[in-house]
Assembly symmetry: C2
Homo-oligomer: 391 residues x 2
């Protein structure tokens, strides 16, 4: 098998666990946060900077790379690792999420989905087989099954969508031949415990080397996400890595780890950086705020990222207000550093048996963005569905 | 004196010379190319990258920094060096060029110039004394006198403008007190040899520690620029550094050095990078061209920049087509590397007595962008006047 998961330690007070995933391009210590490189680049950041930040896994988007520059171009240039100059582990999603959230849908049945490109309106057809072929050409270490990510609250629709997701999983499993790529199954089921259970049972019966959980953090309250994880994760085999698609924020990271998740990917640190929002241990701050105009302090005292070691809040604010690319880069570097350091801290705590104390201490100081504000942000982006698409 | 110029070698076949400028923030080997950091950042590039590229001097724009974030903010944060995290030598222009090319002019006389901000329409008044005060707060190692940069071909207007530039130079000279800043005088005179001579004589009589030549490369044919340099430079004292404002391209660099110029600054390498244009030894290429879509070669074989060591033309093209920030950064890094390496190569050749051979060899292979194409580009940017303003 191309992927080997080594479980090192289980937290005595939660479902949290620490491990290592071995891939053809190196090891991934878990729990891990994977920065998203939608278009074969983590926005504003170079591969060298990713390495210095200690990133051990990145996620790239099949839908975007299929449309531009195209899988054959990437294959001709040696695959995604060579193409983008990143020699560490890469995961690609299946493109399903973007087809349903970003493209214009044309037709949908058991065989696949027809859609129009958001770039030029051209028509395309994704089948499970085609998505495996595209991901084969891209050459990531971990690839995903085609899945449908429906609105989470319509039960009848979720029943139908789940049927398609399961059929597609079977076809992906059958079409997958590249032995240096690990194909993960995806559990769906919306906000419904019975569908989640049914999906976990169906997908795990297909025996994948790892499992992703999709369709969460797409607008539902956090409590629903927690409940769905509590229903799903115990049905996944302990000896396989578990991935929570498109999640998340620092608080989601803790809550997911506590419920047994190993892999997280999310555009949040990179996307909010481009609006001037940066993470601190007490919550997000927005550097555009006038109060930082003359502030000589770094974003966060004690932070060891390039941004905090060299630049003041005042300078970062100036760059962001002046729309200078360096501003977006410096904010992104800080936010990625924050999430990657948090992942390492969480892992150390699990290994030391102190995860629950760390979680309690972190969440006591960290001010969470309220659900209503998140909903407003989501609507301002013009989307009902989540945050996995645009890096 | 805050600035000391050491002349090391003169080329036997031209006016080219090699030297070292000593400043409070380190040495500047000359001839030197100074990247432009309009808003206290060389666009898309970090200070660390500038250092790795071997930049020894950068130029920042007084007009832009005066409007945003303001000289007091920068002074409160320890001056431009601390503010932007660049501890090497910095030069600021006087803001004059931008007032005349970018702002909306309101009134102009011997005392100064009233203009409206291009950012918010607010009204401001620049006098020679004010410009010295602003630059004092910014704290660059080399600062410039307020000057007027008129259309180069209207003789009568140039006579009047030169009168103002000279009066302002006297006032700047008198107002300048900060001993760790070297104030350069600026020679103007449009496209007219007699005015250039008159200006060189007037300005050098004021005894500045260095001299800038302004009002060239603003749309006139290259031959006119060459002629004006041939008229002006011999009238400047040999023991002071000579700066050609807002120039230039690789070919301008050779032609300027051959006519005795030591310091060049220009937005060209950074600005064209944002359009996907990159320098090679045979001329510019535009990476957006479809022919590079599957090209595995670096921009230029043998180039030792980060971009060429790690990435293909195909990847760079993908990033630029997808409007990814990393694409603009990688193109900028290459172009700056090209210019800074060229400066080092030119300097070595002068020291070795082989400058004329290098110039001949370079220009024999380098395809120059024709005057008509440069004019079209200039008009497409909506400007009669030059390229010094926007980084």
């Amino acid at each position: 098998m191309s992927l080997d998961f080594e479980l090192l330690e289980k937290d005595p007070h939660s479902q949290a666990r620490a491990g290592v995933i071995h891939t053809p391009h190196g090891q991934i210590p878990t729990p891990v946060f994977a920065p998203v490189g939608t278009q074969a680049t983590v926005k504003a950041v170079s591969p060298r900077e990713l390495r210095e930040l200690g990133a051990s896994l990145i996620l790239a988007n099949t839908y975007h790379l299929y449309l531009r520059p195209g899988p054959d171009t990437i294959a001709n240039l040696g695959g995604l690792h060579d193409f983008m100059g990143w020699d560490g582990p890469i995961m690609t999603d299946s493109g399903g999420f973007q087809v349903f959230s970003l493209a214009r849908l044309r037709a949908l049945d058991m065989t696949g989905v027809t859609f129009r490109s958001h770039l030029d309106g051209s028509e395309h057809f994704f089948t499970p087989e085609k998505v495996i072929d595209i991901q084969g050409k891209l050459g990531a270490d971990i690839v995903l099954c085609l899945d449908e990510c429906p609105e989470p609250l319509d039960y009848d629709y979720n029943v139908q969508a789940l049927e398609r997701t399961h059929r597609w999983a079977e076809h992906c499993r059958a079409a997958h031949t590249r032995r240096d790529q690990a194909l993960f199954g995806i559990v769906q089921g919306g906000a419904f415990a019975d569908l989640r259970r049914q999906s976990a049972e169906f997908i795990t019966a297909l025996d994948f080397p790892g499992y992703s959980i999709g369709g969460l953090s797409v607008g539902e309250p956090k409590e629903v996400m927690h409940e769905m994880l509590e229903v799903t994760v115990p049905l996944l085999p302990e000896d396989r890595p578990r991935h929570l698609l498109g999640v998340g924020s620092p608080e989601d990271f803790f809550e997911g780890v506590a419920r047994g998740i190993d892999i997280f990917d999310c555009v949040l640190p990179t996307r909010i950086a481009r609006n001037g929002a940066v993470f601190t241990r007490t919550g997000r701050l927005n550097i555009r705020n006038a109060q930082y105009a003359d502030d000589p302090a770094p974003i966060e005292e004690g932070c060891d990222c390039y941004t905090c070691r060299h630049f003041s809040r005042a300078y970062l604010r100036h760059l962001v207000m002046a729309k200078e690319m360096l501003g977006f880069r410096l904010a992104t570097l800080h936010n990625l550093s924050f999430m990657l350091n948090l992942a390492r801290e969480i892992r150390e705590a699990i290994l030391a048996g102190t995860f629950s104390a760390l979680k309690k201490e972190f969440l006591a100081h960290y001010e969470i963005v309220p659900h209503e504000a998140r909903q407003r942000n989501r609507e301002a982006r013009g989307k009902g569905l989540g945050t996995r698409d645009q890096g």
